[in-house]
Symmetry: none
Subunit: 242 residues, 2 copies
């Protein structure tokens, strides 16, 4: 079921509450040919005996699901992180519908992560901030009762529709660097800014960090570009004598 | 939620077994703006007390659902009947995927019926024969475990995509900053890097400058983002005393 170009995206469930819903999500995935699941801190631990019966035969997905402590860990090797949210938040990132996101996932050579939050609360602001793109399933604004497995299903369905259309890669551009490399660069910058007294007053620090992260996630810099920027930061931090 | 041209299609559930699934189907419909349900000979009669709790607020759809004895009665006033089947049968009718069917429903002025069979067995051959078109949700041929409400949801989702209202909210992203602003930021960075001894050896300076410019042009940062980055650079150049 792999496209000729892009690897199959990973489906990341963040702090899912019910094992049953994890099983249903696996079933929704497999119906449309997706098989790679990652779990971040599931509420009731993992493995969860409630998941299997709801998976209706998609047990292999559960057996191979990868477990992580944080979303950052779960997407460290991903080049494009999509955060699924139901409503628009005050975040300035591109927003895509499932069909648009599926096209992008298929067109990019790197590993994409499609991230879903807990059943009721959804992703936290800091988790959305990790993503380059917001993925929103457009639903009836006066109702809006899409559950976790249903959201996964719509996204998987749109992904499967693009299969077989196997688009050529847009260009020979390098894919975006894995999220972990970007995180390393951001950490380096934040350390420097902290030492320079940039983060002030303390009450605004979280918002300022999010602003910086959003701004630095926007480009989708590739591995070489991130390395260059780290060199720039190192030069600024440690001027050399000529 | 009506299109300007076509009336909203009716969702017809034929001999549904569990009230719970009727409720889930109503919920799936309402998530995507569909409200007209018809029931043909539900196994456990109608109304069914199990339906309401699963509808998660879509009770009005259940309250207004119309009851019929046969599929023929249920679709007597419909101009285009779509019979949903998971697998292609030996029937010589046009087969459409949900997106194609949604386009047809929107394009035709008459009332369309989207017909779904019982949970396990699906529609009988004589019922499929009533339809003008077969509607098939393309799923993983090696798995294929789409339940009734999920099938309704995919079809409703595709219908809603054709509605102009159903687009995700576009974020009001600011346009990229004018080139002059970007140039100002690049000049500031280059001055700092020059002072830090970054541009070395001299023979490679033009290429290095081009690399930096390419990388910093890539994001298309807007006015606010460029201003933030200039603040970052100023902070690094002039650490403040706290």
């Amino acid at each position: 079921m792999h496209s000729a170009v892009a690897p199959q995206p990973v489906i990341v469930l963040v702090r899912p509450q019910l094992g049953q819903n994890i099983g249903k999500a696996a079933r929704a995935m497999l119906n449309f040919g997706l098989t790679r699941m990652r779990l971040v801190a599931p509420r009731d631990g993992w493995p969860n005996p409630d998941a299997g019966p709801s998976a209706a035969g998609a047990d292999a997905i559960l057996a191979e699901a990868e477990l992580f402590d944080t979303l950052a860990d779960a997407v460290a090797d991903c080049t494009h992180v999509f955060a699924t949210t139901v409503r628009k938040r005050g975040v300035t990132k591109p927003v895509m519908a499932p069909d648009e996101a599926a096209q992008v996932v298929h067109a990019e050579a790197g590993l994409s992560a499609l991230v879903f939050g807990p059943e009721r609360s959804g992703l936290e602001t800091d988790e959305v901030a990790l993503a380059r793109t917001i993925l929103t399933v457009p639903i009836n604004p006066e109702f809006g009762s899409l559950n976790l497995a249903q959201a996964v299903m719509v996204v998987a369905y749109e992904w499967s529709k693009q299969q077989g259309l196997a688009q050529p890669p847009r260009t020979e551009l390098l894919p975006p660097a894995p999220q972990g490399e970007l995180d390393g660069m951001i950490a380096q910058l934040e350390t420097m800014l902290d030492e320079a007294g940039y983060f002030y007053p303390p009450s605004r620090v979280p918002a300022t960090r999010r602003t910086l992260r959003t701004l630095l996630s926007k480009p989708g810099w590739n591995h070489l570009e991130v390395r260059t920027l780290r060199g720039v930061l190192s030069a600024l931090a440690n001027p050399r004598q000529r």
